[in-house]
Amino acid sequence: MGASLALLLPAVLPGLVLIAAGVVLLRLRGTVRDVVVLAAPLIVLWLIWVLPDGTAGNIHWLGYELVPFRSDRLSRLFGTVFSIMAFAGGLFGLRQQRRAETPLAYMYAGASLGVVFAGDLITVFVFWELMAVCSTLVIWMAGRGARGAGQRYIVIHLLGGVLLMAGIAGHIAQTGSLAFDAMHADSPANGLILAGFLLNAAAWPISAWLPDAYPQASWSGTVFLSAFTTKTAVFVLLRGFAGEEILVWIGLIMAFYGIVYAILENDMRRILAYSIVNQVGFMVTGIGIGTEMALNGAASHAFVHIIYKALLLMSAGSVMFMTGRTKCTELGGLFRTMPITTICGIVGALSISAFPLTSGFVAKSMIVDGAARDHLTIVWFLLTAASAGVFLHAGIKFPWFVFFQKDSGLRPPDPPWTMRAAMLLLAFLCIGIGLFPAPLYAILPFPVDFVPYTGSHVVSQLQLLLFSGLAFFLMLGWLKRTEAITLDVDWLWRRLGPAAARWIDSGTTRVAEALADRGWRAVRRTLETIYRHHGPAGILARTWPTGSMAFWAVFLLAAYLMLYYL
């Protein structure tokens, strides 16, 4: 690593560059602002590819070594997709009236890049917390309706930060090293680090924050949110806990949790939020399997997922922007007047379902095949069932209920050209990666020993998905949505917690009132006694005749005399 790079480092650290761009953007207006919005992520992307592999800028601090910059294949892969995502999100959000949203989203994206290029745990932690703060501000940009969800979101993430910091402190105490490398959850400290990472991955049982908060953000804010927090968590799990067996099972639970809740959901953006948990479940399972093939699968799945999930949420965001509605029960039939949004939504839906010729197919099949090559029978059968379920809950359900279904009578046109351009860019990437996977395979962490387009792969995937589609249309009556939500683990702190607090509060109030009542009565009794004796009518306040005083004085003197002579 050259000394020149170390000197330049703060100015070329990809995360800091994007954060600085966000800070500057807060003050900019007009065309200059639009130019910076579009240029900043591209400059960051360029930096990521010109900076050499290795570490730089090491700082000695309290006897430890901080490594603010470390680049390798894995970090470059995530850095690449994060900057593409920031660019597409910035383009999509150019029309956003709340002008602070995109700058805050850039700081959020920059913080994610900070984690991705961090070489030590303290740097990871600092950017981790910055991500939590910036993403909460992005949620709050949606206004009053998002306030409660944002509050719950930040509390959960600060809790995750506490777990992570406690784990890091323990890890440093045990090993004496800050370095962020592969570890195992074999000590309480490393277990806490894993828990902190998993919380950001929306791992069950603490998944509810994601479908609670993300769909409350604005039509453009949700697009940013879908990309960074969970996928940064996937990155740190890949870096730190590859092959940790418990992740296989946590990932499978997440995959099915996402499907079941999305099937029951009515709000289109919440359907897509549950489906993030489902997709991250596949990645977490791949990380748990831990073979080179499965890790490549998890990493490439994260890459393509960011793109097609953003595309799906852009398509949903366009519908929300044009109609102001998000519930499936209020939408339908929009294909008539929103052809580009419909087609882009369908491309995203086919990609998430891993249809052949889309990006999902060339990535996700590596995870499922990784399970097969390792002869993990139960895992393979569950992953395959979950793959069928993805088509059911996101692949058909989202486009069907939003763009087809009944005729809602709405006739909105496609959104403005900036939003259409962002969608077309990502749709192009989904198909492009699906048709030509080689460039993606070339930048994966391990050499790729996998051919996606074999007759067997294509036919089996088509059977799986098309028959899932058949099941969808045959059971359409059961899948019709009503205006309902489904309770989740967050019921514990949204309902049970406040109810318990109210109950304890009323209980303590009763006790306090009883005590206060007694106290008052005692005080009143004392006062009454004093008043009785000393008050105007009290025995001690009576006027005494001078005669009786003289009499008593004479009586006492006489008694004294008599006692003296006795």
């Binding site: 029951l264 007759g455 036919v459 098309l466 205006e483 309902a484 489904t486």
Partner: protein, 84 residues
């Protein structure tokens, strides 16, 4: 479902929908027939049999929908439950 001007898009006409079903079923049949000519070299035995992915995908989805409905009976609430 006619639109305001009396005629609807071809995609929403009942005749089109019937045609789409026919095409869909033909494609479904073709994907299963393709199994006769392709060796799936199944890793677990059963996954190499003809039409495995077809019935497995279908059954998985039916189970998922029924399971979700059952869970929904317990966990579904009006969407203003949390006072949004």
């Amino acid at each position: 479902m006619p639109s305001a001007d009396g005629k609807d898009y071809w995609l929403a006409r009942p005749s089109t929908i019937r045609l789409l079903w026919v095409v869909f079923i033909v494609i479904l049949a073709l994907t299963v027939l393709a199994d006769l000519f392709i060796d799936h070299h199944g890793d677990f035995g059963i996954d190499g049999t003809i039409g495995f992915y077809a019935w497995y995908g279908f059954v998985s989805c039916v189970v998922l929908v029924i399971g979700s409905k059952a869970l929904g009976v317990l966990l579904k609430r009006k969407d203003d439950y949390y006072g949004r």
